[in-house]
Each structure stands twice: as C-alpha cells, then as structure tokens.
Symmetry: D2
Subunit: 391 residues, 4 copies
C-alpha cells in the first residue's frame, strides 16, 4: 500500500515529502516530477510568486540509477526565497521581535487554526494551511501516477469554468471528451491539449472569456474560482469495492479532491445533473459491439457501486474563489477584538488551472492502491506479470 506524508511551511526552508510502498523497478526521473510541478505553477491569473519560483524537486532516497528500489522515496523542494524568511521562520527560539499576525482572512484556516492550536500568531497557521503545500503533494502523487502509466492507466484534466465563463453547451464538449477518452491514453491527450490554453480549457472561445473575467476581477481587487474535471482512462474493471463503506473508490476519490485547498464540492460523472432526472435517463445502458460490452453514455463517471466499470473515470471539482483579496474583507483583529479589514498578502487572482493539475495528482495514489490490491507485486515486473496472467 502506498502511503505518503508531506511537511513544510510555505516560507520555510523546504517542503519535504516521503512516499512509501512503491514497487521496485519503476523508472522515474526528476524531470518527470518537475514537469508536473511546473504545470502546477502555470495558469493565467497567478500572482508574482509563481514567477520567482520554478519548483524543482531533489530526490534524496528511494531511487537509484533512475529506478525505484522498494525503499521510501524522500523529496525536497527548497524555498528559493529562504534567505529573506530565515529570521521570521527560524527553528530556533525567538531572539528578536518578529511581527505577529492577528487578523484572520475569512475563507482561510486562519481563524480556526489559531483557535485550534492555541497560537498567538496566525503566521503559524498560514504557513502550513497554504496552497504551497500542494507542491509537495503533487511531487509525491506523481510517483504513483508514473506507476499507473506503466500499467496503462492515464490521468488528465481540464478546466470547465472560471467564474461565469464556462461552456455554452456542455453536450458538445462532453461528446468530444467521450470521443477522446475512448483510447487508453485519452486522459493524457486531453491534458496535453488543455495545457496549451493559459486557463487549461479545451474551448478557445471559453478560454478567452475566462481570461477576460480574470482581468476584470484583478482590476476590481477580486478573485475567482471555477470548476475542473479530472479524467482517468485505461482503468481496468474491478478497482475499489462495495464490500465495506470505506473501500468504495468513489468515496475515496471524493475525499482526495475535497482535500485540496479551496475545493469544496465534488461530483462523479454527472451527479448533480442526474439528481434531477428520471432513472431511465440517468444510467448507462449496456450494448454489445462485436464481442465487447460497451456503454453509449458514461453518466456514472466510470464507477458503479464504488467499483470501476471499465469506463473512463470522470470527476468534477468546484473550487471557491481565492480568499486573499486585494480589496480585503471585513475581519476582526484577534488581539484587540476590534473590527478591521482583513490583511492582504501577495496572492493569485485565480488558480483553477493549477488546481486541476493538483486534482490529477491526488487521485493517483488511491488508484494505484486499488490497482496494487487487485494485482499485487513488489516490483513493476511482478505487477505486470500478474496483470498479464489474466489474459
């Protein structure tokens, strides 16, 4: 079973991650991970920081001569701006005065974290409850993603909407996606195409509208959220289980997505649409196509009863607008308990494109674990041999 833990503060010395349980013999190069880290930093509407730092991972263990050896993989992403933060983020006892933050930003963990941990400085919250944490999450999950790719399973994503800018008609886009995802590597193709757009959208007209909306928000000191879609193709039938509530793959995937910062809603397939339809228009009928069992629709998003049914997995996530606004919200100074305006820290206007890349990443370890449970193996060769034994 793959497990991983991440650590690291946003302005601390480095982000750190350990991934454990990856079979031996998996080829993985730092560039492969760095590519995902770079994708996470892209997107129209990102603040200044994304330009300063081009994240790069240092692999400290678990990989030798380009391949995993069965041991835990440790990674580091250094903070390139550390010298400027050394004093404020020192591990050693405070010797000089460092200003404390006492005004929470609505929408952030600031207020809840401050109360929970009995802190007197909100900086101790925001340094961890920061989207920067997801850089290491992506790095860790990317190892599992590579394992899936070796097994013919591909993950992709694209942005459906930013603010009010979304597809005029879902059906046209959906048909195109359905077509593309017929191939095992379909999800990958979609992600490649989405990467060509600054907002990771598949339709140029919607892209343009979204960029305009981001510009407007920026001018107004405001921010935007949106909806993105994660797709997985090449998925074998039978991952996950209905046998016990916590083994349902749909629940697990929802947790993964809803654990990304600012993601507050998730649907599998057309969940919210289907909730208002009659059953005869809500399920995916089965047909024969030659000797294959096929479906003409994929409203279930590839999961029936918590188990993969061989169709592409389709997940959608709703990201709220970024809660650090240039035009700040009403808040309270917790030191004085006076009403004030929330402080502003350098921030993005819109991070939905980046969030979609994180979404691709976080589902990977869960799928890899479901795959390992079904096929088993201590090395990629063994895993492949097991999978092929069925044919």
């Amino acid at each position: 079973m793959i497990r991983y833990l991440t650590a690291g503060e946003s302005h601390g010395q480095a982000l750190v991650g350990i991934v454990e349980g990856i079979p031996a013999g998996l080829s993985i190069a730092p560039e492969y991970i760095n590519h995902q880290l770079k994708r996470r930093q892209m997107g129209y509407g990102r603040g200044g920081r994304m330009k300063i730092e081009s994240d790069e991972v240092e692999i400290l263990s678990g990989i030798r001569f380009g391949k995993t050896i069965g041991s835990p993989i440790a990674m580091l992403i250094r903070n390139k701006d550390w010298t400027n933060w050394k004093r404020q983020m020192s591990v050693l006892p405070r010797v000089e005065d460092v200003e404390k933050i006492t005004i929470p930003r609505p929408g952030h963990a600031d207020f809840a974290g401050y109360a929970k941990y009995g802190l007197d400085d909100i900086r101790n919250v925001i340094e961890r409850a920061s989207a920067r944490e997801t850089a290491m999450r992506v790095a860790c999950c990317t190892i599992a993603r590579k394992l899936l790719e070796e097994c013919g399973i591909f993950i992709g994503s694209h942005v459906l909407s930013i603010g009010t800018a979304g597809p005029a008609k879902r059906s046209a886009l959906d048909r195109r996606i359905a077509k593309l995802t017929e191939a095992s590597c379909g999800a990958y193709k979609i992600t490649e195409e989405a990467d060509l757009s600054e907002v990771r959208m598949l339709e140029p007209r919607v892209s343009a509208k979204a960029i305009a909306e981001i510009k407007r928000a920026q001018k107004n000191g405001d921010t935007l959220g949106g909806i993105f879609e994660v797709l997985v193709t090449g998925v074998p039938i039978g991952l996950g289980s209905y046998a016990q509530y916590d083994r349902k793959l749909d629940g697990q995937l929802c947790q993964a997505l809803a654990s990304i910062h600012a993601v507050k809603g998730v649907e599998i397939g057309d969940a919210f649409t289907i909730a208002s339809r009659v059953g005869s228009r809500a399920h995916d009928e089965m047909r024969m196509k030659g000797t294959d069992i096929v479906r003409t629709t994929n409203r279930a998003g590839g999961l029936e009863g918590g188990v993969t049914n061989g169709q592409p997995i389709v997940l959608r996530a709703a990201m709220k607008p970024i809660s650090t606004l240039a035009k700040p919200l009403r808040s309270i100074d917790l030191a004085t308990r006076k009403e004030v305006r929330s402080r502003y820290e350098r921030s993005d206007v819109c991070a939905v494109p980046a969030c979609s890349v994180i979404g691709e990443a976080v589902v990977a370890p869960l799928l890899a674990n479901a795959f390992l449970e079904k096929f088993g193996g201590d090395s990629v060769d063994e895993l492949r041999r097991h999978r092929e034994s069925a044919k």
Copy 2:
C-alpha cells in the same frame, strides 16, 4: 478512535455491525437506535419491502445496564423474511439448483462486482452492494451520534429537491435554516420538522410537488433521485486539521457522504454556486456582536481550511435515481453475451428521504473522532471534564 465494520447480505440471515472505541458511560437504548432505523425506512416512494420489515436492532455486547462499558458494541438486525431465503442464501455447499443471475442492472455494482470477484452469479454482488447494508451502517453510526449529542453537537438533515421539484428560491429557505441553526440544537430542530413531511422537505409546497413527481415516475416505471442537506450544529471550533491532507475534515466528510449508495456528488456550503462568483461575494466576513465574533453568512459551510470554524456544518449530497427500474434498461446477459432487458427486482421509486437520514448518520463517527482527538477521554465523564476545563 471510533472504528466500525458492517457485514451482512440483503437477504441473508442478519446484518451485523461492530463499533469499537466508544468511551464508557454513554447511555444508549435500543429504542434510540431503532428510531433512526425507522426514519431510514420512511419516505414517500419506498417499495414494498420497507413495509414488511420494521428494522430492529439487537445489541449483543458493549452495553450493560443501559450504558457503554468501553468494549466493542455488536449489533444484529435480523432478516424477518429469512425463512423464504434460507435455501437461496445458504452458507452450506449447494445441494440443489438455485437460479443464477447473469444480467447486470446498469447503474448498479452488478457488472463491476461480477468481474472483480470472478463470480458466476450476480446475486453474490447485489446481496452486499445493496442499500440494505446502510441499515447497519446507520445503527453503528447512531452510537457515535449519541456521543456527539451528549457533547452538545447535533446532526440533522432535510431534502432539498427530488427530481425537478426543489425550492423556487433557495434564499428564503436558506435564511430560515440559518435562523434555525443559530441554536446548538438547531440541526435537530430542522430534522424534526423535516420528519413531518413524507419527503422530508421543509416547504409544504415543494413537498407536494415532489410527491406528484414521484407518483408520475412510478406510473412510468421510472425512478427519481434528488439532493439533500446535512447540517451539524453546536460544533466547537477546531475539529479537523489542515496539517496533513488526510486529516482535513472536509475531505473526510465528503468521503462519508459519497460512500452512501447512489450518492455521487457532495458539496460543502455553497461550493458549486460559489465557484462562479467573485471572491468578495464568496466568503464569510467576520463581525463583532457584543463580545462574540460572528459571521453574517455561512457560505463555507462551517469549514475553513479543513477545520471547523464554529459555524454550522452544511453539506449537500446528490443522489442519482434508483437504478432498478420497473421499465428496465438495456443490458447484456453475461452468460450468453446477448443483448437483453435488465431484470427488475422489487425496488423503491425514490429513496432520497431515507438517504438524507443515512447522511445524518455517516458523518457522526468522523465528527466524533475529531472531537475525541481534540478532547480525549475514556469515559463520557472524562470527555466532558476535559471539554469544560477550557472554560
């Protein structure tokens, strides 16, 4: 930490559950659990089975003289129709011919489960991947719910929409809910009110519309899904954590809801609505009201950064229409690989009201664990003493 496992087939001898990690000294009577089981069986649009069986729990361990003693609690819900199923569901080797099911119902686990477990009879899937399993899930979770109540935390729910029948204007309903949930026990009040409606809706006009829609679906041999809302009031600040991805309470709650049969989408607060708004209209500003910090909105649904912020928790779940239709869908006979019509088993037309009751239940163990992590204690007295030590 509370853990629970359930077991049992839909037409097997009994459903069985074990709940472990409940502090000692919690008063719990079978009636308390049976009340929840009964609520799970109600709702306009349920099939015949719900009338046959009024589920009743037998507590076999862990409770003595009306109180928990720190030991695991085992429960049984017997199948009152067992004599009619004895032969078909026998534990002992087959001695006579029992008909096998080989036609999967689209939307069900039938097809995926059959392939996954290498079965030759879909009955082996449908007996477990059945909504009946949730009866024991509700029983198990109800113990955690009682613990929360003893600590002043209340859970409730109501149905927002069934098919196309939903509130004309969300804002009026939302304001009323916001008002009701100002009290610690607000969620409970809402659930009591919802229980008065056959479809667990708070607005009589919408109720009537929903019932009409269910009638129509039934006549057409069709089924319906819908959206329900789970509310938690009396929640202390600081449950959950942003410190590690898998400790985020929002992700955990999404998993819990999406692990209920037919639930395919979940949102916290106004997630999908907020995804299309600007940030300045998406977060919950903070104000002083006397000496208290208050919010005028609760768009975040009580969770910021994966941690409770003292506001009511608001979760919404989308349930797909039931996939067993009287007017059956196209399917394949897996034995012959011929196209056929999916078989019909006695089923409900709409189970959204029941599903909302299950939703109330499944969030309880997660909240109780977050509460236990923060306050700790081997008995209810100790837990209370710890909580009060802060005041």
Copy 3:
C-alpha cells in the same frame, strides 16, 4: 487487506466477529472453524467451563454455498449459559440490584480497566478482558488460515514447557522439528502430532511431567504458565518488508502473539539464546543443495531483516500463569480501600495448550496480508494465477 474486529462479553449473549477483505471463492465450512474452536478448548488443566460449552460458530454472512463471495464474514458464538446471566448482563437499564465486583485480581486488567474507564464495577472489565474473547479471535483468524492453506502455507504449534516441565535437551527436539518442517505442510503435521497429547507436547515423557505438575498446582490452589512454539511452513520468500519500521513482519508477528491474553514474551527463532552467542554461531549459513539454496540451521526463525527467507517461521511465546488462583492473592477492595484477599472465579489451572492454538490463529491474518500484498487478487483463483505466473 484483511481486517477484523471482535466483540462480546465473556458471559454476554454472544461473541461476534467480522472479517473483511477475504478474496472470493475460498471454500470454508463451519466445521473447519469449529475444529479450531474445539482445539482452543482442549488441554489438561482446563476448568469446568470448557466442558459446558463446546463452542460453535454461526456464520451469518459473507459465505454462500460454501464459498466466500468477497463480502465481510460475520460470525456468532452464542453463550450457551446465557439464561443464567441474562439478569446480570442485561443491555437494558438496571431495574434490580446486581452485585458489583470491587476487588481486582492482581495480574488481570481488573484494576487498570476500572480506573481507565471510570467504572464502579469490575465486572465491566473482566467480561471483555477475558480469555473467552479469544474464541472469536480464533474464529476470525481461521478464515485467513484457510486462505493460507489454499496457497500452500501451513501453521502449527506445540507446547515446549509448562511450569518447570520442558525438554531435557532442546537440541533433540529441535532436530526433529527441523526434519518435520522440511515439508510445506510440516507445521500442520507437527500440530496434528501435538494434538494427540493432552498438553500438546511432542515428547511423551515431558507431557507426563507437565501433567504431574499441573495436578500438583491444582492441589495447591495454584496455576501454571509455560512456553509454546508456533511454526509456519510453505512460506514464500519475500513476505514483509524492511522498507519501513511498521512493515517488518517480525515486529507484526510479535505484536500478534503478545496481544494474546497472558502472553508477555515472544522470541523469533532462538532470539534469547543467540543473544549470548558469538555471531559465527548465531546465523544461518547458506549452501547449495543441487540447484537449491539451503540453510543448515534456522536460528533466525525464517525471518531476516523483517522479511521471510523461505525457511519455516519459528516463534516462541511465554505465557504467564493464570492470574485467577483458588488460593487467592492479596488485593484491595476498591470500594473500601481495605486490604483483602482477591476473589476467586471458576478458572483454569493451566491454559498453555489452548494458548498455543490461539497463537496459531493470530499470526494467520498478518501472513495472509503479507501474501496478498505480494501476490494480490480479489478471488482465490486470481491469487493463485498471480502466484503461478512467477514459475
């Protein structure tokens, strides 16, 4: 991954267990489990209760027509004496006076449990912290044991010593065991042979001595412990891992054995003996025998670096004498805080033979999980196919 939970009080209505994660298609009959339950009840030196109750398991779910179906397996062992305990162990609020126990027995959980859970009646402790709990543990673990057997892995045990009665010379016995365990099913053969002795010992002379010692202890109102050995044969190379501290199979097996009531010490191979030897006489040299790599000794007990090395697994456990003595120990009445004599409940004089049977059981789920991790599979067929793919 196999998980299991047990529940049930010693004099409660029933013991209950749920086992989850067993692949489909495993043949399992109640008799197979009952056979292990019966073995757990045997042994010279058992008290009266063992004669009253011949434990029998009722399988309530997860098995259909003699085979597992992938769903959780629920089991019940009823208390045949329940009518006599109904009043004292009632789930319902106390209506009449039931005597409370306030005198803890040294060596039992009585004192610690009473304090931990804030109880006023030690009965609430002793009902769960009772060796009777292991009946259900054995039932649950026996399912995993059957899975191992299907994969050619066999578990056995025998008693090495009871009180001071042990083998005069370990080396002769060890050589015999080494010889027997050369076969895959060797452990099973040993256990069959041990079952012929009332004290589960392999040497008749030692058996006789042990029985004499038990008789003497009984006459003196005293009790006895001893040491038993658990053996596993047919173990593939490579179960467990050194990669992370908690994946070391040796640590996991030690936990399993030390979690049995009264077992306070565990060694793998000749651990305590080897601790006083030089390294050149402590390890298992490797030789070629035809085309096979072989060892001439098995001091490591089949585990090197926390991973199985293809040799039989050898575990030894030290069981303390039973702490309920007919000639009671000094204790304190916790109600009066006066020094008193500990109370006597009907009890065994010696339970080492039974404990060895429990030892066989508890290692099974861990080995099965290590096996599943390496070979993977949702059904016994799939598991076998994976294993054979290597050949």
Copy 4:
C-alpha cells in the same frame, strides 16, 4: 495521533523523517534530538563509521521559534561522506559501471530483499535494511519522547548482558532498579547512570567483563549481541486497552522493539522467568501504603491486560549478534550460484548499547499516542489542562 515515516539509504545523500500529529507548543531544540543521536552512536565495540559521523539533525519544518506549531516536523540527517558515494548511489540513470553486490550475508535482509524486490544488486537492499535507518527513527521518536517528558513520563534503558557477560544475580540489580524507578523520573536517572558506562551497564564489574568479551570477539573476527532493558516511569494508569486485540499496549510495545534491526525477542516484565513459575509467585499483589494502592513487586512490567497499571513499564529485548563478520560466513554468490564466503563491510563488533538507546526511542510514539487518546489536545497547554482536570 502521531504518525511518522522515515526514508533514506545508508550511504545516500541524507536520511529524512516526517513526524505528524504532535500538539502545538512543544519546546524542542535540535540539541535535544542531537543528544539522542549521539547516544545512539556511542558504545564500546562500534566500528569506524560511528567516529566519522557525528549525526546532526536539520529541522526543516514544523518548529518555529523553538516550539512546535501543529504542523508536520520534517528532519534531515545528512550523510557527511556523500561525496564518496555520489557515483554509487546516484539517483540518475547509470552512466558508468558500478560494481554489483551478489553475495548475501546470512542474518541480513540481503537474500530475502533481493528476491522480494526482483533486484540484481544487493546494495539496493543493504542501503535501506541498514541500522543507519534507525538514526532517523530515533530523531522522529525523540519528538514524541519530549512530549511525554512534558507530561511527566520518562523513558530510560540499560544493558543487561552482552554475550555471556550479564549480572551474576539478577535480584540485586532488580532491587536497585525498583528503588530507582519509584520516582517519576526514575527511568531518566537510570539512563543517565547507564550512559556513564561504555557498554551502558549499571554494574561496573559486569561492564568490565562485557568489554573484555567484546575485545575477544573483535580479535576473533566475531560479533556479539545481548539483552537490554527499557524502562518507563511516571506512567498514568489506563493507557492502552483490552477492548480490541490491536489496542493492547503490550502487543504494540513488543512490535516497536521487535522492529529494531537485530532485535528478535522481547519480554514484558519477567515473562520468560514467570512462565516456569506457579501463579502465586508470578503476580504483583496489591497493598495499601497510607492512602495509596501499591505493589511490592512488578513482575508484570507495568502492564496488566494490555493496559498500564501505574507501575513502571519494564521491557526487555534480545539482540542477535551483528551479522556482518570480519571472519565471514558461508554464503552463495547469487549471480553464479556458487558457494562462497560472505563479503565483509566495515561494521561494528557489538551494538547492544546503541540498540538500547533506539529501544528507548521507539516506544515513545506509542506511549504518546496512548496518552493523547486518553487526554486529548491540540496543544501542550490543552493536553496539560485536560490531564489536570482529573485532580
């Protein structure tokens, strides 16, 4: 709940650890951890490497201004000899020939790991299945140890025997230890005293004998193991539970110790001695001393029924002799399948003193988790407040 993962190869760039779940507000300085790392490197009989490297931890996250902030703590221990290993341990694909190791050392994970992970170079095993891994394990566990100390719980250890050099009479030593451990901080006092001996023994005469034995072994190209004792004082009553098999603290502690390299046996209290005694001489009778309940013996080692009883916890572990011998053992070259002599890598002659320090460390997270479960809290202040609320 405290969790931790470690990563890192013996000659890799660095060892890495992440500890998660530590309450906020715990004072911790790198020196505190380095002190434990230094103790782990000491002891008569260590090889050359221990002198080269004085391990030092770099804290990369989770601690700010000398205190934990609730976030995961990441640590690094750099390999000071990295430049000499860069080529052999490169993360990047092999560009030049690096010699492979194909001869396993009996007693090591070499053979089993090579087979398990399908490797062609034993170096990939030995780099992780190396005692060096325990440096980071000690660092991680030391954070939990500091938390325990803040709560008045102290851990210590001493070496009982090395090879055949052990106490002439256990009883005298035991009485002295019993006396010392009457105080809450008794374990700490013992460890301080043991640290004064090069072999961490409490009796100078035995120390001298042990050193002589190590010298002799070294001269003979041989190695030694031994037995050490871990003690915990200041333990509250009621940690751990008998309620479910995997919550028994005795089983958990045995796993922790048996997961240390070369530890193959564990006993709690006088387990193996007591196994040959009658019950009346095996348990710890209870007496009143003023208003306190006391015990005159501690044969149970502080645990009854898997729960702490307020007495000091006493654990003993058997360490096998180091399996890398200067006078090598018979082995097989796995590349040629020819009989050869096992290779020699620079190694220690005896590491029992170091192992005892590791033993102190590994029990800490388990005790801290049991403590957190009982008392709960997100900060040290909250935890203390909860604990004091009982008084």
